[in-house]
């Protein structure tokens, strides 16, 4: 290589164009979805204004935002209740799902005996089971938790089970040669292999536990301790307070997005060192 007196690296026109294209794509990746959402909101607003739709049929986005602020004293405590049930259900789903998956992998017999029950719980719609649960379970919080858990635990169980079975056969042989115990095999080989699968299941379960919590609240209906967001939507519906229904709906959707983003972040942080899904490629 010859020494040149320019400190800038030499880039030809083609490379320059590729760099510009890449930079443009980086900006557009954020800008484009944001613009689409804003355009949709503007369109919604215009449709309401141009057609003079009354707010008790379809409120505009501005009114929904105002209601969100005005009704904050009602909506935010309700959000906290729903969020509390969602997160508790997710926690129980993680413990139950991973626990069952580990138990199944340790004992084929247990898996053969109990897997059908897990599938039955998964395929039966929670709205159909929930009324029964609220008849048998005295405590409303426990009932709500149970409903949300039934919806959320299966993806964790099935993904973690798949992961625990997906170990590299050569590594399995290696562990056998070194005389690894069942526990060591689980701790050092199966659980790390299952981690990406589990995290995939966790992201699905996060959304599902919110859905489970909301559905359970609907079924549990009014009265009792619960005054979560679903209860507020029901209540607003009875009073034809459509803007508040929209505001509560927006809050639920936002909560779902935040949960998904948080779990994606956790997943990324846990895998970024080694897993192909999270490793950033340089070119």
């Amino acid at each position: 290589m010859t020494v040149t007196d320019t400190t800038e690296p030499l880039i030809d026109a083609g490379e320059q164009a590729r760099l510009t294209a890449r930079r443009r794509e980086r900006v557009l990746r954020w800008l484009l979805p944001m613009l689409t959402v804003i355009a949709a909101l503007v369109l919604w607003d215009r449709i309401v204004v141009w057609n003079a739709i009354p707010h008790y049929i379809l409120p505009g986005p501005g009114l929904v935002a105002r209601t969100l602020v005005q009704d904050a004293p009602i909506l935010f405590p309700a959000l906290l209740v729903t969020l509390q049930i969602t997160l508790m259900a997710l926690a129980v789903a993680v413990i139950g799902g991973v626990g069952l998956a580990v138990l199944f992998s340790l004992s084929r017999w247990t898996e053969m005996c109990f897997y059908p029950f897990a599938v039955i719980l998964q395929v039966t719609p929670v709205v159909a089971i929930a009324p029964l649960i609220f008849i048998y379970v005295e405590n409303r919080l426990v009932g709500l938790l149970l409903c949300a858990w039934i919806v959320a635990f299966f993806p964790i169980l099935s993904n973690t089970s798949l992961g625990l079975r997906s170990t590299d056969p050569n590594l399995r042989d290696l562990y056998t040669i070194y005389g690894a115990s069942r526990w060591q095999r689980l701790r050092y080989l199966q659980l790390p292999t299952a981690l990406p699968y589990f995290l995939g299941g966790l992201r699905i379960a996060g959304g599902l536990s919110l859905i489970g919590a909301v559905v359970a609240e609907y079924v549990a209906g009014t009265g009792g301790i619960g005054s979560g967001l679903a209860f507020r939507i029901l209540e607003a519906g009875y009073r034809l307070n459509i803007p508040r229904m929209f505001a509560a709906l927006a809050l639920i959707a936002l909560t779902g997005i935040v949960i998904f983003a948080a779990l994606s972040l956790i997943s990324h942080l846990a895998l970024r060192k080694w897993h192909e899904s999270a490793v950033r490629r340089t070119e």
């Binding site: 050569n170 056998t176 005389g179 690894a180 080694w274």
Partner: protein
């Protein structure tokens, strides 16, 4: 720390390490993978199992590793079987760093990392990967991953290292380099190696004994001695002796294949 690898002994004076006696392996369905295999391996040997695919060389290796039990015959060890293995793929745990991967055999024997940190460092230095202890496998090239795999196999200083076509998936240049480095390594640690390969050139370059195997059923066809002294380097690879030995091994292999075809 003092390096206390076992000292090598000249061929002919080596004490026996392991012996396969009339070993048969029949798989379910009646496929006879290995027939009447007898093989004695002595301390310090570098034995190559050379043969076409289907000759049972990998089966023999799995039997020696204790991953399968023979249908007939027995495998006897002098003392306890201490084995290190290198597979055709590097077989590293992608979630663990290089040093954690090399630590694995110790970890499974309930040794603390700090107790064996020096052994791990030494093993990595011997394979020329000192600076990569904290790297993850995906950051390494194919040849470097293989080196980690070799470091892991020898870090516990096992009596016997089994290698199942470890360099078959690598390119020619990397393969030559690793062959040369493997010999230097073996000189340094003077361990015993059983090396499965289907490359005549590789087997002659590396081993002091070549066991040529034939297929259908898999069996030992003939055993060849490679009398060339170690250390062997580039000058051996280009010597007339080497060419003659390769010719002999190649002819034997062709006989073995002709007979079974």
């Amino acid at each position: 720390m003092v390096v206390t690898w076992r000292k090598p002994k000249p061929v002919g004076q080596r004490p026996p390490l392991m012996r396969m006696d009339g070993v048969d392996k029949v798989f379910p369905g009646g496929i006879r993978a290995l027939h009447d295999m007898t093989l004695q391996v002595n301390e310090g040997d570098f034995v190559s199992l050379l043969g076409p695919s289907g000759c049972g060389k990998s089966t023999a290796l799995r039997l020696i590793a204790g991953l399968m039990q023979p249908t007939r015959g027995e495998i006897r060890w002098e003392g306890t079987a201490e084995i290190g293995v290198v597979f055709q793929e590097p077989t590293l745990m992608p979630w663990a760093t290089v040093e954690e991967n090399v630590y694995l055999p110790f970890r499974l024997k309930h040794r603390r990392f700090v107790q064996v940190a020096e052994d791990i460092r030494l093993a990595l230095r011997l394979v020329g990967l000192e600076g990569f202890a904290r790297a993850y496998p995906r950051e390494l090239s194919g040849g470097m991953k293989m080196r980690v795999s070799i470091a892991r196999a020898m870090v516990t200083r096992p009596k016997l290292i089994l290698m199942d076509e470890p360099f078959a998936a690598l390119d020619e240049i990397t393969r030559h380099k690793l062959n040369k480095d493997l010999l230097e390594l073996k000189e340094k640690i003077s361990s015993t190696v059983i090396f499965v390969t289907h490359s005549v050139f590789e087997s002659v370059f590396l081993s002091d004994r070549i066991v040529v195997m034939a297929a259908r059923p898999g069996r030992v066809f003939r055993e060849l001695a490679v009398p060339a002294p170690y250390p062997r380097g580039e000058e051996f690879r280009t010597s007339a002796d080497y060419a003659a030995l390769c010719r002999t091994a190649s002819d034997t292999l062709h006989h073995a294949m002709g007979e079974s075809a």
